[in-house]
Symmetry: C2
Subunit: 140 residues, 2 copies
DNA sequence: CTGTGTGCAAACTCTTTGCATAAGT
DNA sequence: ACTTATGCAAAGAGTTTGCACACAG
């Protein structure tokens, strides 16, 4: 066998209560076909147009937010003007290249966080984001 | 004794090569007088105006960026539309309240990160940000 | 005085919204 | 058919920029 059968985008969309329209399916394919990715709205839009799916920017915004609500992707905490969406919803972390505003997955590592503080009353932890900010090494 | 003598804003500005103008000193006072804070440009601007220092928004933007370059404050990695500036430049971490876009310091805790991955070639780690995203506890 | 800094308003970028048209079930 | 999604263009929010005036040294 060649691997696990991925659940089709159509099915995933339906379980999320979203109609599997051409645009949503195409965006879902782009997002999930190539492994884990972090994209901005503009990047995904451009990919879609290049791939022959002339979806509008507004629809990409809508769709990414819907996918986020459905828990299929999530928003990354980076200090950039643009919003980054991550197709990997599990606990893992990121490098963020200053200046270039580029997001990289932290490769296989056993980074661990210990002694997480308790959340304040009435709150629960939704997610823990570790962003390792990188800059070009300066040899002065 | 009542504590350490803080270095005056004037001196700090001069060492950073910044003229201690009325606006910069006032903003610096607001930023550093009350312990560690995280503020948006708008919040600081409003504080300044309320405090009787009618500085312009553009100047607050300029000043916060200059302070950041001087290493006096830093920008936080949160997934908010607004930029948050933190007066605490040391390694410490944050709660981020979803929806409210509120940033809270993580109180005294011995949160530690182990097995930090090595940065990619030619890059060095500028800062490690841990953002613990909070949401209201739901008891369903 | 001379060079910086400041304020204002306009410009820019990213994101959201309203509404007519198109597509899914 | 009926409902929901899409596209477009305009509006919003946050941030940056250009230039005349003001202030610090």
């Amino acid at each position: 066998m060649t691997g696990e059968t991925p659940i089709s985008i159509e099915v995933r969309l339906r379980s999320a209560g979203l109609r599997p329209t051409r645009q949503r399916v195409a965006l879902g394919d782009l997002l999930f076909a190539k492994g884990d990715r972090h994209l901005t709205v503009e990047e995904l839009h451009e990919e879609a147009v290049t791939a022959g799916v002339p979806v509008s920017l507004a629809t990409v915004y809508n769709t990414l937010h819907q996918f986020t609500e459905a828990g299929m992707i999530r928003v990354l905490a980076v200090e950039s003007a643009k919003t980054y969406f991550d197709t990997n919803v599990s606990d893992h972390h990121h490098f963020f290249v200053e200046g270039e505003n580029e997001v990289l997955d932290i490769p296989i590592s056993n980074l661990t966080i210990d002694n997480l503080p308790p959340p304040p009353e009435g709150m629960e932890i939704a997610h823990v984001d570790v962003v390792i900010r990188l800059r070009p090494k300066q040899q002065d």
